[in-house]
């Protein structure tokens, strides 16, 4: 117990006191900080880049949109395979025997095929071809649905891989500039091409943005579904990379423009830049656990031998209290007799 008890070399102060106006000091501090904030505001303002919408995404990157939607339909997107808290299609991350993500369960259920493709398509009226395609898809056995959606997604994913590797793009996927539609040469895709053409059209009209927000009530504040769908696509990434906001560039501690962002997250972001965290499939939980341990240590500094003793060994305190130490040091010559006034408060 004595090891954990911080060394106490203090005793009640019997020395001098100086006048101190706490309230005045606080008022001056508020004035100075407010003035600094105003000066920084006038000089630098603050960032406010408009949010992206699914309509923008589908118009600017139609092939990318259709690829992401196809992955949502066949259950291979990031969200589809995420696991808790969105679905049971994965266990989530773990560290040794700790499966916190799995243990806390599915709290925001997302069925990517239904939520991002099937249900929005059901809202489109007066489209006989789409209704027929939807009916055919929903009536088919699950393995047939899977085969159709995979057949459709395959050339799209090959296109995306070639695009990322900056290789020649396969001709199985093409964009018609006149109609702004995406053509996918996929045999055995059943009704999926018809469904995807309608979904792209719905997205361009802005209908999908609204469709993903509607649920059981009129007022909406939960953007989980549209945000996760967009995160599965490429528009957010593209904008983030242009602003140097990628995870390999210290990620979310930055913000758009040349603003300081959340600089206080530097230690959290640091672990993602180095091994073994950088390439680990469980990087998030490992970093969070590491930060949890470090945070507890930070709180408990007064009780950690060594860490709590550093201030004695590295005498920065001599700089901080230099006036006091200079005054307290015994004079070289005969000491002048100086009486201290009585202690005040």
């Amino acid at each position: 117990v004595s090891v954990l008890r911080p060394k106490d070399d203090t005793r009640p102060w019997t020395g001098g006191y100086q006048p101190y106006d706490l309230v005045k000091e606080a008022c001056i501090a508020i004035g100075v900080i407010a003035m600094l904030a105003v000066i920084l505001t006038v000089l630098f303002s603050s960032p406010d880049d408009k949010p992206s919408t699914i309509a923008q995404w589908s118009k600017q990157l139609p092939v990318n949109f259709v690829t992401a939607a196809a992955d949502e339909l066949n259950g291979t997107s990031g969200t589809a395979e995420y696991g808790p808290p969105y679905n049971h299609n994965g266990e989530g991350q773990h560290a040794a025997f700790i499966y916190l993500q799995k243990w806390l369960g599915v709290s925001h259920p997302i069925n990517t095929a239904d939520d991002y493709v099937i249900d929005p398509l059901k809202t489109i009226p007066n489209d006989a071809a789409l209704q027929s395609a939807l009916a055919e898809y929903q009536a088919a056995p699950e393995n047939t649905q899977k085969a159709w959606s995979e057949a459709y997604a395959k050339p799209l994913n090959e296109y995306a891989e070639a695009e990322e590797a900056e290789k020649p793009l396969p001709k199985t996927v093409s964009l018609d500039p006149a109609t702004d539609t995406v053509s996918v040469q996929a045999s055995g895709a059943g009704p999926v091409p018809t469904m995807m053409a309608s979904l792209l059209s719905l997205a361009k009209s802005g209908g999908l943005d609204g469709s993903l927000l509607t649920s059981r009530q009129f007022f909406q504040t939960d953007y989980t579904k549209p945000l996760l769908f967009m995160a599965d696509g490429g528009l957010l990434d593209k904008r983030a990379e242009a602003q140097h906001l990628g995870g390999d560039e210290w990620g979310m501690m930055n913000e758009t423009g040349s603003y300081p962002g959340q600089a206080w997250l530097w230690l959290y972001a640091l672990w993602y830049q180095i091994e073994p965290f950088k390439s680990s499939e469980n990087a998030d939980i490992l970093v969070m656990l590491m930060m949890g341990v470090l945070s507890l240590a930070f709180i408990a500094i007064p009780f950690i031998p060594g860490v709590r003793d550093l201030p004695r060994w590295i005498p920065i305190h001599k700089l901080i209290w230099r006036e006091h130490y200079a005054a307290a040091a015994p004079p070289a010559g005969p000491r002048p007799a100086r009486a201290m006034p009585d202690a005040g408060s």
Binding site: L22, S46, P85, M288, H317
Partner: protein, 225 residues
């Protein structure tokens, strides 16, 4: 004053409070002479920054979360809010480093350090919920990036950074209350225990003949917590 019985809870609470923090300790008009360094300014600067954050945030809250996107005045107050947050973290980090090198937990002041450290840690999600409540591209990007870390430890099950309504509630009410309560406890503890004396004060005082005390330091520097 009424003749309240000794068993009165109110009387007991008042007596305990006054015993722990008599008015002259709560609002002192003097500080020990060793409180003479610019490092002391950063404690009160942290509180001042928090004040500006709450004031500017209150104006933004009064007008609603969308106001600052389409009015110049709104954007001005959003910028004040953002820069006050940046200043808050900057001065708080300097304050924490200063207190670390002063070993300011000595003399029964461990709770002062602990409340300060927890305040810093609670301030981080308070700021994060602000960033993801901005309703702009930063909010989209930061929320979709931050969700993975939180989900990985199960926090995402009840703290969903992609749910604007939930994050806004946390940002304008729950977490600010936590920060203010922690800062209040921190300041009251500082006032109760006083500003930590210099390291090795006893050893140095031992060099001064008994009955004498060190010469006073000129009262030049500001003082704070």
């Amino acid at each position: 004053m009424s003749d309240a019985p000794e068993s009165s809870w109110t009387v007991k609470v008042r007596e305990k409070a006054v015993e722990a923090l008599p008015p002259e300790k709560l609002l002192p008009d003097g500080q020990p002479t060793y409180v003479a360094s610019w490092i002391y300014v950063f404690g009160v600067a942290s509180i001042a920054s928090l004040f500006v954050i709450i004031a500017s945030g209150s104006i933004l809250a009064l007008k609603g979360p969308a106001w600052w996107h389409y009015t110049g005045v709104g954007h001005f107050f959003n910028s004040i809010h953002m820069w006050a947050v940046e200043l808050f973290f900057f001065v708080m980090v300097v304050h924490l480093w200063g207190k670390y090198w002063m070993a300011a937990w000595r003399g029964g002041r461990a709770r002062v350090w602990v409340t300060g450290a927890i305040t810093f840690l609670v301030a981080v999600p308070t700021a994060l919920t602000g960033y993801v409540s901005q309703q702009n591209f930063d909010a989209q990007w930061i929320s979709t990036q931050a969700k993975d870390g939180l989900n990985s430890v199960g926090v995402g099950a009840f703290f969903n950074v992609t749910n604007f309504g939930q994050m806004y509630s946390y940002h304008v009410l729950l977490l600010p209350i936590a920060v203010v309560v922690l800062v209040s406890a921190h300041v009251l503890l500082v006032r109760r225990h006083g500003v930590v004396p210099p390291i090795e004060l006893n050893a140095r005082l031992a060099t001064v003949p008994a009955g004498e005390t060190p010469a006073p330091v000129p009262s030049s520097a500001g003082a704070g917590s």
